[in-house]
Amino acid sequence: MSLQNQKSQTLLDVRGLRKIFGETVVLRGLDFTVAKGERIALMGPSGSGKSTVLNCLGGIEKPDQGEILLSGNNLATLSADELAGLRRRTIGTVFQFFHLLPTLTVKENIGFPMELAGWSQEKIRERVGELLEEVQIGHRAGAYPETLSGGEQQRVAVARALAVGPPLLLADEPTGNLDRKTGDAVLNLMEQLSEKHAVAMVMVTHDERSTRICHRILRLEDGVLAGPPEEERKEEETAG
């Protein structure tokens, strides 16, 4: 399905998102949408509220005002358990510091979200095999995270994030802790998998080069989104 077709199907709809910590207004009413399969980069200086947006999208933080509709579900109306369920099925997350579970091997880390989702062991084995191949880490399937390089750990993290086939991937500085070459490889992998599985992505990044895999860039300054020209440019580039 082309992006133009997918754009007609909105996955994420953010309306008037506002978040206050104490007396500090971090987000001042954000409006944006993400279509199915669309990749968006969220950029901005430190303290502009990027991570807070990501946490709100993942249901970790509750907005003080506004709505977040994910696959038609209004996150504000969901209980803590329902939000946890939504994260299991609908959202994959990739962190800057990888955050693999230290006691689990590579294949167990990848398979764990499927276990949480109640998949059968046979189905988990099959899917883990596919993902290991896709992220090219099959040779380290039985290794523990502490023995992997940063790039390998992030590839496992990407595989884990996509394990149950979520429609949305949230990535928080996914290359922030990797060298340039390894970072590029991880970005290519994310792009490739996002294309293949039609997964939308919201990526927080400081790195302009990372935005090359995104269809659009949203710039956040002092809790508000900056003007649309660059977004359009990126979108046009991608469309072209």
Partner: protein, 878 residues
């Protein structure tokens, strides 16, 4: 929400792998739990072994009887047998006369060099052997009570043998231990005389499904009567129903009805009476031990809680990731409880194994103490039941679950990994930072001290209010001691700023102590409070007993039958012997002392006698309440009452005071006595009434003595005379004043030996917990440690900071514990001891012992802290 890994999968994926990654910490945690469970179990098993040994003894010797006739006071007159048979009439109940005494093997006495309470006391039973061989209605065909020469003999021949020289049947175990066979001789001390008796045969190893205890010997009753020169008295009469089954409870009640009546010097006792009485008599002692044994576990709960909290800290990021992956509170709770369950199960399993080993050690100590303090005659075997194992597991898992509550709360409050990155820390239990719950508990605890003791079956008193107070004070104290951290931090900061600024970070962390600091200090606090409180109790007790010994024992020589090994011992000094000694020219005054068991209000206590004309001039009791005016102890009062002195335990137990009149059973019927004074006495907790010896001799119809006290002419050497008279009276033990005090102190030390061991275990648990705490604290502070390294501190300096933190926790736990130990000491001495035993104790603070113990703990705390710091710094900062 459905899904997620099951319990076993979760243990495999997370718990066990974490344990493997931190094997030493896990082992330490499991060991703390195991030690708590093991301490409790070993005391439980030892207590039961001590009590059950009496049950075994009774069943094995008498077979399954359907009750006994026992005297209300002293011995049972022979005419009671006729009275009982008359009352029973044609009923199908056999009345079997029994004469029972105690004996000590000379070889055992030689082995312990005559020390009191050390040689095993044996029960020597005089039975109508001929009658009993024919009377065995419920025995399987062919089973005989005795084997050996009597077996298979014609009745006439056997009867002839019984009329001959007295012979004894001994247990197989004793025969093996002393290397004896039927036909050989055994040298025994019975009462105050040596006897070499021929061994007629070996008692069967198994009878009525109970193994024959080692310490039982059987003789024909006529032979024993001849041996003791006692033909008018029995010890009791056993009753055996002739039916194929035992007498039912209703049957026993009917029998009791038939055998009741006024003016009887005896009473019918159902079959389990003696065992129940022993159990109730020792109930308070055993309960006290059980409660002490739980201290290690209570200390352990705090430390396990702290250690589990450390686990949460260590896995905070993991929990955050799991949340990010969609785990709900319910999933996390299930996961955490599953881990605690596994910890409880494995720790309890280790505790049960360790408890078995410890029980082998404690059973001897508990048994020996019960033997010395209450009643001899038991052999102690550790026997497990399913209930023991189950109770160990329930306690271990329960303790883990209680300990896991605060960490569970922390785990559930852990946010998702995204938020965790913003650097927040585990919240801990904010309540521990507030002093008011502690003040409330201390206040409520104080009010509970006014709660009267619960009276258990058999008259033993249990100070439930006092124990509840102790619990509330200990828990309350854990809230209060946290307040010591800020001043300690401030004081430490000033000190190190001048002395060693490099230690500032460690001290500043004490100033802002976390829940973990507070929990670790709380564990130490509980162990120190209890250990300190017990030290004060034991110190005061020792001081009081010494004062009492000084007052009470001023004579030069103390004499008792050599075989006397405990209060229950039947080793009397015959009247001819003691009179012969009392009339020697070297003796200026002699105090003959006699003690007999009596029944008052259905429970056992003691009636004692002494020469009360010696009061004040020769004997000086430690009066709690002096007699008012002059008392003629030899004459009845104008109201016809016999004047008596009650000891404190008796007064407390039977709620009597000076001027109160009591009916006391005697072989001459009920005697009315009036209490003229109350004296302190620390010999027994069952209470004793003291009358002049002339009254008791008259009531008993004999003048045998329990012991004799001699005051010697000036210039006489007690040691020399003791040696000389020992040769003349080989069945008697002569002790000088000093030797007697040493014996008394020996018994005292033995009694509190287990207490010291339990104190040590609690402190060991606390120190192990301190190490675990520090691991947790430093793991949480790893970023700070890294900063210190970046600031240029060496590994040694960073470890020293860790040591300062650990030492600070030790100081808070120790100082708070010492402070509270005075409160607990007061509670133990003035409330718990007073309610349990009725003893007034004089306060004494064993300053040296407390100082040594505090210095030792502080040093141990510093070593543990520095050691943990060095290991962790190397590991965390590599």
């Amino acid at each position: 929400m459905k899904g997620g890994p099951g319990l076993v999968r979760q243990w495999t994926l997370f718990t066990l792998r974490h344990w493997r990654r931190t094997p030493w910490q896990t082992l330490l945690l499991l060991f703390i739990l195991a030690l708590g469970v093991a301490t409790y179990l070993s005391i439980r098993l030892a207590n039961r072994a001590a009590v059950e040994s009496f049950g075994d003894f009774a069943v094995a010797v008498r077979g399954q009887v359907d009750g006994s006739i026992e005297p209300l006071s002293g011995n049972l007159p022979l005419e009671a047998l006729r009275e009982v048979r008359q009352k029973l009439g044609p009923k199908a109940v056999h009345a079997i006369p029994i004469l029972e005494t105690t004996a000590v093997a000379q070889r055992d006495l030689d082995a312990v060099e005559g020390q009191f309470g050390r040689a095993p006391t044996m029960r020597l039973l005089g039975l109508d052997l001929l009658g009993i061989q024919n009377l065995n209605p419920r025995a399987p065909d062919g089973e005989r009570i005795l084997s050996g020469p009597g077996e298979g003999e014609e009745e006439g021949v056997f009867r002839e043998r019984l009329r001959g020289a007295p012979e004894v049947f001994i247990s197989g175990a004793l025969a093996r231990r002393l290397d004896k066979n039927p036909g050989s001789e055994i040298s025994l001390l019975i009462r105050d005389q040596h006897h070499d008796l021929r061994i007629a045969g070996i008692l069967p190893e198994q009878r009525a499904e109970v193994s024959a205890p080692e310490n039982v010997m059987v003789m024909d009753i006529s032979g024993l009567m001849r041996l003791l020169g006692q033909k008018e008295f029995l010890s009791r009469i056993d009753l055996v129903w002739q039916g194929a089954e035992h007498l039912t409870l209703q049957g026993q009640e009917r029998l009791a009805g038939v055998l009741s009546g006024d003016d009887l010097a005896w009473v019918y006792r159902p079959p389990e009476f003696r065992e129940n009485e022993t159990a109730s008599m020792t109930a308070a002692f055993r309960l006290n031990l059980t409660i002490l044994s739980l201290i290690a576990l209570l200390t352990g709960i705090f430390l396990i809680s702290q250690a589990l909290d450390a686990v949460v800290v260590r896995r905070r990021l993991e929990i955050g990731i799991l949340r990010s992956l969609g785990m709900t509170d319910g999933d996390l709770r299930k996961m955490w409880l599953g881990e605690i369950l596994l910890l409880g199960l494995v720790g309890s399993a280790l505790g049960v194994l360790l408890g078995g080993l410890l029980a082998q050690l404690t059973v001897g100590a508990v048994g020996q103490t019960i033997n010395t303090l209450y009643q001899g005659g038991g052999t102690y075997r550790v026997q497990w039941t399913g209930a023991d194992i189950l109770s160990g597991f329930l306690l271990g898992v329960g303790a883990s679950l209680v300990a896991g509550l605060i960490p569970l709360r922390d785990a559930l409050r852990t946010p998702a990994a995204q938020v965790l990155m913003q650097g927040n820390k585990a919240p801990g239990l904010a309540l521990l930072r507030r002093p008011w719950p502690g003040l409330l508990m201390v206040g409520v605890g104080y009010l509970l001290t006014f709660f009267p003791p619960l009276v258990l079956d058999g008259g033993a008193r249990f100070p439930a209010g006092g124990y509840l107070t102790a619990f509330l004070w200990l828990i309350g104290g854990t809230f209060l001691i946290g307040t010591l951290f800020p001043p300690l931090g401030r004081w430490g900061r000033d000190l190190v700023t001048r002395w060693k600024p490099v230690l500032r970070p460690g001290v500043s962390r004490l100033h802002r102590a976390t829940t973990r600091h507070r929990l670790a200090a709380a564990g130490l606090f509980i162990a120190v409070s209890m250990a300190g409180g017990m030290t004060l109790l034991v110190g005061s007790f020792e001081h009081t007993v010494e004062r009492w010994l000084e007052h009470r024992f001023r004579a030069d020589l103390y004499i008792n039958a050599l075989g006397a090994q405990g209060p229950e011992s039947d080793h009397f000094i015959s009247s001819e012997r003691w009179r012969s000694l009392a009339n020697r020219p070297e003796v200026v005054a002699a105090d003959p002392f006699r003690s007999v068991r009596i029944q008052i209000e259905g429970t056992t206590t003691f009636l004692t006698s002494s020469d009360l004309t010696l009061l004040d001039e020769w004997q000086t009791p430690l009066w709690i309440e002096r007699p008012r005016g002059e008392v003629d102890w030899l004459k009845r009062t104008p109201e016809g009452l016999v004047p008596a002195i009650s000891n404190e335990a008796f007064a407390e137990r039977f709620r009597v005071g000076v001027g109160d009149v009591l009916e006391v059973p005697s072989q001459e019927g009920q005697q009315s006595v009036v209490i003229k004074g109350i004296q302190a006495e620390y010999g027994n907790e069952q209470g004793a009434l003291l009358v002049d010896r002339r009254w008791l001799s008259q009531w008993l119809g004999e003048e045998n003595l329990t012991n004799l006290t001699l005051f010697l002419r000036e210039g006489e050497d007690p040691e020399l005379l003791a040696e000389k008279w020992s040769g003349e009276f080989p069945g008697l033990a002569f002790r000088s004043n000093e030797a007697l005090r040493e014996t008394a102190k020996g018994i005292f030390r033995q009694t509190f030996g287990i207490t010291h061991a339990l104190k040590f275990i609690a402190l060991l648990v606390a120190l192990l917990g301190l190490a675990l705490t520090l691991v947790a604290i430093f793991r949480e502070a790893v970023q700070e440690l890294k900063i210190l390294r970046n600031l240029g501190l060496t590994s040694g300096e960073i470890a020293s900071n860790a040591a300062i933190e650990g030492t600070g926790i030790t100081i808070v736990g120790l100082s708070g514990g010492l402070l509270f130990s005075f409160g607990l000491g007061w509670l133990l001495i003035e409330v718990i001891n007073k309610q349990s035993f009725g003893w007034t104790l004089l306060w004494a603070v064993p300053v040296g012992e407390i100082a040594l113990f505090s210095a030792g703990l502080l040093l141990a705390g510093m070593v543990v802290s520095l050691g943990t710091g060095l290991v962790l710094v190397r590991k965390l900062l590599k």
